[in-house]
């Protein structure tokens, strides 16, 4: 039976054809023809590398940040319009480029707002008074500070009843192909630069270095090739960064490139945003490297021995430059130890830079280096470089895997995230490609040291024999590196999974209390430890009551601690708004509202709240066991990498008894003084807190509401008649504690139970409030 031919779509055929042509052009030449290739110039080959990387990684980059909590919820149906809208995000927003606009369903603009001055992760807006029933659309323009991505997003809430046919707009990123281009150019060129400088200092000099060549210690043909690649990479990196600034200004200002240039909008982005900070740092470091490179060219003939120092030193500047990518990566928005996340990401990118950038540099340098050689000489020269490179590459692989593991566990909360989210899918693709790269690298490592792995490699001898020529498999490895880099670009542009605790719908605590013919309703949002807004709604017979003076006090009875009195702002429609960070932990809290009526009478509404941490806006999270284990693996990998250096340092140490005694003594003293310092600081802080607010011996158990105040007044009049006003005035100071008043009431009033004494204390509190 004849086999049915495999069907392919026209698109797939076209895509495969293109890819095969490009890959064939670059990598599938015969080894000898490639090594001595006169056909592909350096520029062409470099451009092809970039083009492939670009083709593989072009996609709209998405913002890293996500919404943690919103008040009101999307599509919430509210009885009345809230006084303000609040949206908490996982990362800080750029204050000048983030905004919020509220419109009604007819499109009329009603209010606008922006990031809170106190909390750049909170987008907030005040709503106008008396919004009628209907649908309201909240248009948000979010410019995330860490990655500079701008997201347009709409949300909806209803007042009264839900209205059909009104919907928000899902998050859409305004990033474009230009962003993918500059990210590709800058990442590829800086990784290649770092790889080249470290390859030169750590591989090529030890493998091929010779005093016969004063300028750089390598033959002129090799130095020429290295120099050309460095020059092209610096130019490409500068070009990429210029594009980055222009594109970022286009996105921030929603302008075209002509407006960005003519209006110098790029300048505002450069000096006024976090993206601009990182851009400045990157350009300064790139300028430093370019200067060092320029000086090495300038002094090449007159002082050739300076070439090597300039190139070696540049590796450090490039390592620092790569850190700017980490500071603007996913890691910066990590809820778990952001600085450790950035450090681990930096280690990851450094290892990738040496490995991938070094491999790229090696493939570009090998052809001219080996061109004049033949036979065994060629093979020995190749082996000398590969052995050196392979040794460091193994260390880099260990670092890449361990740091990659930590970073992945930083974002994946459940196993389902790996298969059920875009980020998980992108990570799986990257892992598969890295696995292929590791296999090729392992084969190279085995083939380079057949004597060491003879026992293990018997079964693979035919394969090892085929690899012995190295050049074809080196190009396979380089091709895989490009694919891995593309997958890295893809992963870094993919939003991380939203943690399960984000966007949990916990309604803010709310309670109502009658106060004569009035009803007082208080709502605390979000209602957890942290900054909260206290909304007090006063109604009479269902109608809002305006023109009142409302003051609020938040108290934590368990610690006998009362905050200062807050004056609530009259937001109309019977709503009075105040905000503060008084609630700093979970437990039972009181909120007291003293409401002064138009006739001058003051009435009290008091509420007891059980505050739970669930309602707080979670902007950090504790590590789980897997996070700790992954961090341990990273520390172990770094320690393993440092063993050779540590051993070298150890051999240089003066281990005489006197020196060892002094060193041990100094270390022990340092540890002791450090521990003592930490303990002293902590105990001083604890003493300060205890002095300022000691735990009370007795806790006020009676909520100071209107009824308690009335009882307290009556009891004070009857049982405390002999209390002189002078001593009472001394007691009623702003910092007076309930327990002090409780004891004083016991001294000056007779025949009261504990509950009655607390009623008197609550009443006395009103005398000075």
């Amino acid at each position: 039976m004849p086999r049915r031919p495999r069907m392919r779509s026209r698109h797939l055929n076209s895509f495969l054809s293109t890819q095969q042509t490009v890959l064939h052009t670059l990598f599938s030449l015969h080894p000898k023809s490639l090594v001595l290739s006169p056909f592909l110039s350096l520029i062409t080959r470099y451009a092809l590398l970039i083009t492939i990387f670009f083709l593989l990684s072009v996609r709209p980059a998405l913002a890293h940040g996500y919404l943690l909590r919103s008040i009101p919820d999307d599509y919430a149906v509210l009885e009345r319009a809230p006084a303000r809208l609040q949206y908490w995000f996982s990362e800080p927003l750029e204050p000048d480029f983030s905004s919020l606009t509220v419109r009604d369903q007819a499109g009329h603009r009603l209010a606008s707002g922006g990031p809170s001055p106190d909390n750049p992760s909170l987008l907030t807006a005040r709503l106008p008074r008396g919004l009628p029933d209907g649908a309201y659309i909240v248009d948000m323009r979010l410019a995330f500070a860490s990655d500079g991505h701008v997201v347009a997003q709409s949300r909806v809430f209803f007042v009264g009843v839900a209205v059909g046919g009104v919907s928000g707009q899902a998050a859409s990123d305004q990033a474009n192909a230009l962003e993918a281009l500059w990210r590709t150019l800058t990442l590829a060129s800086t990784l290649l630069l770092f790889g080249l400088f470290t390859l030169y200092a750590g591989v090529l000099l030890p493998a091929w270095g010779s005093p016969a060549y004063r300028a750089g210690s390598l033959p002129p043909r090799v130095m020429r090739r290295l120099s050309a690649v460095i020059a092209v990479s610096i130019v490409v990196a500068l070009l990429g960064n210029v594009l980055a600034l222009l594109q970022q200004a286009m996105v921030f200002f929603n302008a075209d490139i002509a407006q960005v240039i003519s209006g110098q909008l790029w300048s505002a982005v450069r000096v006024g945003t976090r993206f601009g900070d990182l851009w400045n740092a990157r350009i300064v470091l790139l300028g430093l490297v370019a200067t060092a490179y320029g000086l090495s060219l300038y002094f090449r003939d007159e002082q050739p021995e300076t070439v090597r120092p300039f190139w070696t030193a540049s590796a450090w500047a490039m390592a620092l430059l790569l850190a700017t990518f980490s500071v603007g990566s996913h890691a910066a928005g990590s809820l778990l130890w952001p600085w450790i996340g950035i450090l681990v990401d930096w280690l990851h990118i450094l290892a990738v830079g040496f490995w991938a950038g070094g491999l790229g540099g090696l493939t570009l340098v090998l052809p001219p280096a080996l061109a004049p050689l033949a036979g065994d000489a060629k093979r020995l020269a190749l082996l000398a470089a590969l052995r050196r490179f392979s040794r460091v590459a193994v260390a880099c692989v260990v670092l890449v895997v361990s740091t990659g593991l930590y970073s992945a566990l930083n974002w994946l909360y459940t196993p389902a995230d790996l298969t059920g989210t875009t980020y998980g899918g992108a990570l799986v693709v990257k892992l598969l490609l890295v696995a292929g790269l590791l296999l090729v690298g392992l084969a190279h490592h085995l083939a380079l040291r057949p004597e060491r792995y003879r026992r293990w490699t018997t079964a693979f001898n035919p394969l090892i024999q085929r690899i012995q020529s190295f050049i074809p498999t080196l190009h396979l490895e380089a091709a895989l590196v490009i694919l891995v880099l593309a997958s890295v670009g893809n992963l870094s542009a993919t939003p991380v999974p939203t943690p399960p605790f984000a966007q949990q719908s916990i309604p803010p605590p709310s309670a109502a209390q009658p106060m004569g013919d009035l009803t007082v309703t208080m709502t605390i949002t979000p209602g957890g430890p942290g900054v909260n807004t206290y909304d007090t709604l006063v109604t009479r017979g269902g109608q809002p009551v305006d023109g009142l003076d409302v003051r609020l006090q938040i108290a934590h009875p368990a610690r006998d601690k009362r905050g200062g009195w807050l004056t609530a702002e009259d937001a109309d429609s019977g709503l009075y708004v105040a905000a503060g960070a008084e609630i700093d932990r979970d437990g039972v809290w009181w909120s007291l509202a003293d409401i002064t009526l138009p006739d001058g009478a003051t009435r009290r509404a008091a509420f007891a709240w059980t505050i739970t941490p669930d309602a707080a806006i979670i902007q950090s999270r504790p590590p789980n066991l897997l996070n700790l284990l992954a961090l341990l693996v990273v520390v172990g990998a770094v320690g393993w990498l440092l063993v050779p250096s540590a051993r070298r340092v150890y051999h240089r140490l003066d281990l005489s008894p006197a020196a060892v005694t002094v060193a041990v003594g100094a270390v022990v003293a340092t540890v002791i003084f450090t521990v003592l310092g930490v303990v002293l600081i902590q105990s001083t802080q604890a003493q300060y807190d205890a002095t300022l607010n000691p735990p009370p011996a007795v806790v006020n158990t009676v909520l100071p509401d209107e009824a308690s105040l009335q009882r307290g007044l009556s009891l004070y009049t009857k049982a405390c008649a002999g209390w002189d006003s002078a001593s009472l005035d001394n007691l009623l100071q702003p910092r007076s504690r309930d327990e002090t008043l409780f004891a004083a009431v016991g001294d000056h009033c007779s025949g009261l139970t504990d509950a009655q004494r607390w009623d008197v204390v609550n009443y006395l509190r009103t005398m000075k409030s």
Binding site: A207, G209, A212, P219, A313, W316, A385
Partner: protein, 64 residues
């Protein structure tokens, strides 16, 4: 008047600028140390050694 800013202005916490500057200082210092050491250190290959002897070393080959 704007002054050029090279710091990640406090987005990661109160100490981030200090840490960022500290890391920069450390790396630029290492850059200087590398420059001085590379300048003063003798070449990797002893000038007295013959190229043939070094050509036999598996980890080193002079591309003469």
């Amino acid at each position: 008047m704007f002054s050029p800013v090279i710091l990640a202005h406090g987005a990661l916490g109160p100490w981030d600028e200090l840490i960022f500057l500290g890391v920069s200082v450390i790396f630029l210092t290492m850059m200087g140390i590398s420059w001085v050491r590379s300048r003063t250190n003798p070449p990797l290959d002893p000038p007295t050694a013959s190229s043939t002897a070094y050509a036999d070393t598996p980890d080193h080959y002079r591309l003469d």
